[in-house]
């Protein structure tokens, strides 16, 4: 059983002193949630099922979590890609993190949108992978939802986004759950001078969401935690996908898929296409 293998793995790592803390999914009966396990005896509370939504790599850059010592982190396929990007951006030293992949058939009932188009059911680049994924690994239609939106006229799309932006309350859940939004001071919080309007009105919200999407250009790994976290139900994914597709089309890069392929915004190559610069 995957749970037992996961628990045994984590217990061994803690007992051997290989790691000081396991960042995993814990449950004492209710829905699983992020858990920080330092005691080998407590590994029996670790679980993995299709309610394990969170991207736990979020915590790898958090100062209060780093104080717990050398971490092991439990990752799904989408989450594993974030480890690669964090390493490429020098936010962690890969050898200092023990990455435990769990083969994943997707999360949510019904399956989350990202899972229906997932091609990383087995997390890449992990120190070990627990379990086996039953679902297929080759999926078409990664951008099907975006295609549908882009099929609308410019006016219709603007009306759609104006309505969505209206809902944003600026709780910043999308930012806070994002493992790649690790800046100690976010540009949204800069107020001397105020860079982006902090107010959740049409102008401020539009500025926030566009800035956020651009800051994730060539970096977003599509874990889609931002969309899930949004209490207003805004489909943040569509903004991320729009930028991700441009990066994929122009640079042939899907962030975090290949550690050998450098970060798009931090790499220069004479072979870079430039025909789109007009």
């Amino acid at each position: 059983m995957t749970w037992q293998r996961l628990r045994d793995t984590c217990r061994s790592l803690l007992e051997a002193g290989t790691v000081d803390v396991v960042i995993g999914y814990g449950s004492t009966g209710g829905a699983p949630h992020p858990a920080f396990v330092t005691d080998p005896e407590a590994t029996d509370q670790l679980v993995f099922d299709d309610r394990c939504y969170q991207n736990l790599t979020l915590y790898l850059t958090r100062a209060d979590v780093r104080r717990l010592g050398r971490p092991a982190v439990v990752v799904k396929g989408c989450d594993a890609r974030a480890v690669v990007v964090l390493e490429q951006e020098a936010q962690l030293v890969r050898e200092d993190v023990h990455v435990i992949g769990v083969a994943c058939d997707g999360v949510g009932h019904p399956r989350a949108a990202k899972c229906r188009a997932c091609d990383v059911h087995v997390p890449p680049g992990c120190d070990e992978v627990v379990g086996e994924a039953a679902e297929g690994t080759e999926v078409d239609g990664r951008y099907a939802e975006l295609d549908e939106l882009m099929g609308l006229s410019v006016e219709e799309r603007f009306a759609y986004w104006a309505g969505e932006m209206e809902r944003c309350v600026r709780c910043y859940a999308c930012r806070q759950v994002c493992p790649l939004c690790y800046c100690p001071v976010c540009v949204m919080d800069k107020n001397r001078p105020q860079v982006i309007d902090a107010s959740p009105h049409a102008k401020g919200n539009l500025a926030f969401h566009i800035t956020r999407a651009f800051h994730l250009a060539g970096r977003c790994v599509g874990c889609d935690e931002c969309t899930r976290a949004c209490p207003a139900g805004i489909n943040v994914r569509l903004l991320n996908q729009s930028v991700a597709r441009a990066v994929e089309q122009q640079f042939d890069v899907r962030p975090g898929m290949d550690p050998a392929v450098g970060p798009v915004t931090g790499t220069y190559s004479l072979a870079d296409r430039e025909d789109f610069i007009r």
Binding site: G26, T28, G30, A31, P32, H33, P34, A35, F36, V37, T38, D39, E41, A42, Q45, L46, Y53, Q54, L58, Y59, A63, D64, V65, R167, V169, R170, C171, Y172, A173, R175, Q176, V177, D189, N191, Q194, D197, A198, S199, P200, H201, G204, E225, R228, A229, P231, A232, G233, N235
Partner: protein
């Protein structure tokens, strides 16, 4: 005997209120399936069944997420302030949950304590609250733990109980409620049984003493570490009311606005020097709990919580007030108990 009103009559009230230029808000189901409390354009949008609680709350009709307080214009060294008091149309809240309605008297106290917040009270005076009693609840509902319940009438102008046959047992509570419903109800010998609600999950009195003594409790670190520091809990809480004041300047003029703020943001307490007295999420979670269950009750004799459960449902990491309360309810000294044992937070 009771007063009974059919659904059709209620929907007609909504449409007539709109035709007369009023604002009506109620639960609306989005395409994604989630229910949000929103301004209605027509009664056909109103959803009265098959949801526990909207993902947001009705508080934004008295305390909007952003509102302009005044404008200003600079002339050399002089500044002219231009007052812009809100003049809200009559606002009808339909299908408000009892836990949302009960938040209004709680907000009234803090908004009228040492200063009468004119913007808030203008909106409040325009409000008529028609509350729909709950017939179902989920594991996150804990209204009965904070002195309320699925048919609590606190803060409502009228309470509607579903008779299950397309009509409501209507209980007007205030003149405003009676005025809104005048001529729309019929006397009947049917009345709805009062729903029991979720079993009470925490005993508040001893818990408040534990919290008072528990500033340095290990509970905060254990429960609070996973908090991501977003404001989803506060912004979907019917009682959270903290706000930030910002100026938005363009050229020689601008405006001052008030926006929702959350004690879970690092920016909430950071000093001009850079020092932050609440440096991490555990200390911010502690503040959230202390404010709700110690600080506010000390001042206003009621907890700053209506047990709606939104803080859990909207939390990306399944935290929520109830979970932290339950964890805090076990004194850390209780050897072998969940807190002292748990390495899992």
């Amino acid at each position: 005997m009771s007063d009974v009103m059919t659904r059709d009559v209620l929907l007609r009230l909504v449409d007539e209120w709109l035709e007369e230029g009023g604002v009506v808000a109620g639960p609306v189901r989005r395409d994604s399936g989630s229910v949000h409390f929103e301004t209605l354009e027509s009664s056909t949008q109103l959803v009265l069944d098959d949801f526990i609680h909207p993902a947001n709350t009705a508080k934004e009709y008295v305390l909007p997420k952003t509102e302009r307080l005044f404008r200003y214009r600079r002339h050399g060294n002089d500044v002219t302030l231009i007052d812009e008091p809100v003049e809200p149309a009559p606002i009808l809240l339909v299908g408000c949950r009892p836990c949302d309605a009960a938040a209004f008297p709680i907000l009234d106290k803090v908004m009228g304590w040492d200063y009468q917040d004119s913007q808030y009270y203008r909106r409040r005076a325009a409000l008529t609250v028609l509350t729909l009693a709950c017939t179902e609840w989920d594991e996150q509902c804990f209204c009965t733990s904070v002195g309320l319940g699925p048919a609590a009438d606190r803060g409502s102008d009228a309470l509607l109980l579903d008779l299950g046959d397309g009509s409501f047992d209507v209980r007007p509570l205030t003149d405003r409620g009676r005025a809104a419903l005048a001529g729309r109800t019929e006397a009947s010998d049917r009345s709805a049984p009062l729903p029991a609600g979720p079993p009470s999950q925490v005993d508040l009195a001893p818990l408040q003493e534990i919290l008072r003594d528990g500033f340095d409790s290990p509970v905060w670190a254990k429960e609070g570490l996973r908090c991501t520091g977003c404001g989803a809990c506060a912004f979907t809480c019917p009682t959270c009311h903290c706000f930030d004041i910002v100026d938005e300047t363009a050229g020689d003029g601008g405006c001052r606005l008030r926006n929702w703020d959350s004690c879970q943001f690092g920016m909430f307490t950071v000093h001009a020097s850079g020092h932050n007295p609440r440096p991490d999420q555990p200390s911010r979670q502690r503040q959230r709990l202390m404010h709700k269950f110690v600080i506010y009750p000390d001042k206003f004799d009621h907890v700053l919580c209506t047990g709606c459960g939104n803080c859990y449902r909207n939390c990306p990491v399944n935290l929520g007030v109830l979970n932290v309360l339950k964890a805090a309810a076990v004194r850390p000294s209780a050897a072998g108990g969940p807190v002292s044992r748990g390495e899992v937070t």
